[in-house]
Structures are given as structure tokens and as C-alpha cells.
Amino acid sequence: MSSAAFYLISAIILGGALAMITSRSLVRSVIWMVVSFVGVGALFLLLEAEFIAAVQILVYAGGIVVLFLFVVMLVNLDELQRVEYLHRQWLPAVLLICLLLAELGFMMWAGAGDTVVPLPDQDQLDAVLRSVRGGNVETIGMTLYTDYILPFEVVSVLLLVAMIGAIYLAKERV
């Protein structure tokens, strides 16, 4: 059941991503990107990580891509559609893809004999979830604010710097 769902969702994600990069219209690319992002959210949901799934949709699909859409809508589409697709980059692109596929294939081949670690069954998962009150929201919260407080704060400062920089750049023209 869940593996069937996994393959279905993966097909949606990959299909969305493929349609995104092959679509000639930028706006359609953005739509396919949203499809892909929502698919990733569904994948998180399948892993019983509801919080991350919701945040994935809220932040990526609902927030960031809207801004993409804004930019795409306001640039001159006709000009962009005339630009050659793989502009002198197809050779490195193909090489890199071959390298990636080879790497993945090697991993699969090398790991073929390994014993598969069984996924924890439902009862075990429930027990883990029950041990932390409120499910994975609280787990993530506790982890972020205790063990990983320094990286968390560094990322916050980074975002703040980016924001101030953006405001500064926009302010110049006023």
C-alpha cells in the first residue's frame, strides 16, 4: 500500500520536474514546479512527518513560488521564449548526467547484497510518537531549540542579512 503510494507520488514529483524543465512557457514551468513541490509534501506525509509536509507546502509551494510567479509574469516572455534552450551547455550537461546516473547505478549495485533494515512497524512508530507529546511538531521544536540552537540562529541571522540587503537594494532607487 505505502510503496504503491510512494511510487505514485514519486512519479508525480518526477513528472512535474520533467514537465517543468521542458515546458517552453515560464508560467507553466512554475505550475509544474508547484506540482512537484506538493508531491514532495505528500512524500513527507507518507513518512509521517506531517509538520514538515505542511511547512513544505506552506513555505515552498505557497510562498516562494508565488514570488517566482510574480517575477515570471512581469518579465518579457516573448524575448525569453526565443532564447536557445541549452545554450552551449549541452555537452557538460550530458556528461554530468551520465556521471550522476553512473554514481546512482554503482550505489545500487554495491548495496544490492546488504540486508535491508526493516522499517519500524506501526506500533513502534505510534509508541515513539506517543513518547513525545504532540507528535513531531514538538520533536522538531525541541531538537531545533536545544541540540541545533547554534545552526538555527546562524540561519536566522543569514535570512535577516538577506532581507536587509534586499531592502537596501530596493531603497536605492526610491
Binding site: 505550475i31 508547484v34 508565488v66 510567479l69
Partner: protein
């Protein structure tokens, strides 16, 4: 994978989903009818009276008219995007309905029927996530029409919804701090345990939520994306027939979802008034679903009432209000709530 799994996760939700899909369009028709009636009464008119007694069959006549209209796409439109945009809004609106806890569970033919179709432990967050996607429908619909008024409406809707989402989220966060959970039914349970609705703890949050809710659903006095008097009909100017009705359905679904969220967060969801007062326990025979419908119905009426009362805001006023008033006030509200919780915890243990 036994029988209860199948009934709990597949059959009963499926029945509920089909019920909502079947009932809701009709319900929206009658919300529109009530809207026209109430607006008429506010203006000392009668409203629809011709089709059926007191115009009661008007929604059906409207629906038939919409369904028989031609499905037009403008010549220079991006037809694919143009056609899917209303569908996105409709799907999002209906998905949002699934998250509302509409009543206490009950037993039917030996099966536990839960009236909240999806009760995940991050329900509020999911609802917000789903609702945030509705911007796409408006923006894409407005852009794909390839016409100036829809594009202006689309830009306004995106800016407005993104701005007010911030205030809305901060407001909700304060309530979530009180409840200590992100689950919709968990919030109701928390209010039952606390013995009072959160409107009495979070009056500022309640008012902020109402205003942000009106802005999020693009209703008057914040209906700038539509703004009939200046933008014809905003993002759905070029739509006709059933695609237009999809936009309307989506808008009313969003109204119902936001009202439902408001009721869940601040008014105890499907619980009767004053759930801890023994004196009122004679009201217990009324099923929770009734209370839910009454409360949501009141806020639908409130939407209409606002529409009949206030003129539309100017665009810069709307943005100024959102960024300079609502966001600071909602953040202050969040801080004060958090502080109060810490103080209460440390004083009373």
C-alpha cells in the same frame, strides 16, 4: 490491514467527502441567495422574489443558467492555464473543508463516524498551507486572461493575500500557544479543558483574525482583487459559465473554511456555549454539528453584513493597514500571550 482500517480511513471519509461534494454547491447557491436577500434588506429592498416562493428557487435557476452558458476563452489567452486556474481554486476550497471538525464523532451501524474528515495533528498548519495555494488560482487566472483588468486584479490579490497571511499566521500562533497543539480537534478539546472559549482569552486575536479573514477571502471591504467598480470583476473578468461559477464556489468555500477555522480557534468549534456550566447542560441533546453550523452561519452572515455596510478600502490604505497596524499588533499579541503563559505557569505551577 483489517476491516476497521478500511472503514476508518477509506469508506467513511469517502462517504463524507461525497456528501460534501454533493451538498456544498447547493449550499453555496443558497449562501448567495441569502447574501442577495440580506443585502436587499439592508437597502430596504426585497431581493430575489420571482423564482419560486420568496425567490427560493433562484439559486437553481442561476445554476442552470451558468451551466448552459458558453465556455469562452479569450483569443490571446494561455488557454491551458486559463482553464485550470478556476479548477485549482475549487479543489483548494473543497480540500480546506475536509479539515474542519464539524461535530463530535458518533457511532453508526457499529462504525465510528468522525465528522472531521481529516484530523491530522498539524491540521491548522495544513489548512493554512492549503489556503495559501489559492493565490495561484487568482494570479494564474488573472495572468492567463491576457487582459489588463484581470492582471491588475491578480497582482492585487497576490500582494494582499501574502500580506495578510502574515498577520493571520501570527494571530493564529497566539491561540496555538494557548492550546498547545496544532490539531483542530485538539484545540477544541483544549478549550473544553480550559472551560472557556478562547475568544475570552484572545479578544484582540479574535478581532485581528476576523479582519485578516475578510482580507484573505477577498470580500468587501477588502475585495480589491475583484473591485467591480474599478476592475470590472478583477481576476475573473474574462471567465464565463461554469468556470466563473468555479471561482464563485471557491470563494464561498474559502469563506466557509475561514469561518470554520475561526469558530474552531476562538468559539469552541462544535461545542455548546459555556461547555462547563452545568446549568446549560440541558442543551446537550443538540448535536455538535448544529452548533457548528449555527456558528459558521453567523460568520457567513457577518461577511454579508460587512459587505452591506462598508465601502471598499483604497489599495494603499489596505496595504498600510496590513503592514503598519495588523502585523505589529498581531506580533505584540503573540508576545503578550507567550509572556502571560510563562507567568501563569510559573505562578500557578
Amino acid at each position: 490491514m483489517n476491516n476497521t482500517w478500511l472503514s476508518d480511513y477509506v469508506i467513511i471519509p469517502l462517504i463524507l467527502i461525497l456528501a460534501i461534494l454533493a451538498i456544498f454547491p447547493l449550499l453555496v447557491g443558497y449562501i448567495v441567495y441569502v447574501e442577495r436577500k440580506v443585502l436587499a434588506f439592508i437597502q430596504s429592498r426585497l431581493g430575489p422574489m420571482r423564482v419560486g416562493p420568496y425567490g427560493l428557487l433562484q439559486p437553481i435557476a442561476d445554476a442552470l443558467k451558468l451551466l448552459t452558458k458558453e465556455d469562452i476563452a479569450p483569443r490571446n489567452a494561455d488557454v491551458f492555464v486559463f482553464k485550470i486556474a478556476p479548477i485549482i481554486l475549487l479543489v483548494i476550497g473543497f480540500t480546506g473543508l475536509a479539515f474542519l471538525p464539524m461535530g463530535e464523532g458518533f457511532e453508526l451501524f457499529g462504525y465510528d463516524v468522525s465528522l472531521s474528515i481529516v484530523d491530522v495533528n498539524v491540521g491548522v498548519l495544513f489548512l493554512l498551507a492549503i489556503m495559501s495555494l489559492s493565490t495561484y488560482s487568482l494570479v494564474l487566472g488573472g495572468w492567463a486572461s491576457n487582459s489588463k483588468y484581470p492582471l491588475l486584479g491578480a497582482l492585487r490579490s497576490a500582494a494582499q493575500m501574502v500580506s495578510y497571511e502574515v498577520a493571520l499566521t501570527f494571530t493564529i500562533l497566539a491561540t496555538l500557544l494557548l492550546a498547545g497543539t496544532l490539531s483542530m480537534s485538539g484545540i477544541i478539546d483544549a478549550q473544553r479543558e480550559a472551560g472557556l472559549w478562547y475568544i475570552f482569552v484572545q479578544p484582540v486575536g479574535f478581532v485581528l483574525f476576523i479582519i485578516a479573514m475578510v482580507a484573505e477571502t477577498n470580500r468587501l471591504p477588502f475585495d480589491l482583487p475583484e473591485a467591480d467598480t474599478e476592475l470590472v470583476a478583477g481576476y475573473f473578468t474574462e471567465y464565463s459559465g461554469f468556470r466563473w461559477s468555479f471561482f464563485m464556489l471557491g470563494e464561498y468555500a474559502a469563506m466557509v473554511v475561514m469561518s470554520g477555522l475561526l469558530v474552531t480557534l476562538y468559539l469552541g468549534g462544535w461545542m455548546r456555549p459555556f461547555p462547563n456550566v452545568e446549568l446549560l447542560s440541558f442543551l446537550d441533546f443538540i448535536p455538535g454539528f448544529t452548533w457548528f453550523v449555527l456558528k459558521v452561519g453567523f460568520f457567513i452572515y457577518f461577511f454579508i453584513w460587512l459587505r452591506g455596510t462598508y465601502p471598499r478600502y483604497r489599495y494603499d490604505q489596505l496595504m498600510g493597514l496590513g503592514w503598519k497596524v495588523f502585523i505589529p499588533v498581531s506580533i505584540a499579541n503573540l508576545f503578550i500571550t507567550a509572556l502571560a503563559i510563562i507567568v501563569m505557569d510559573s505562578v500557578f505551577g
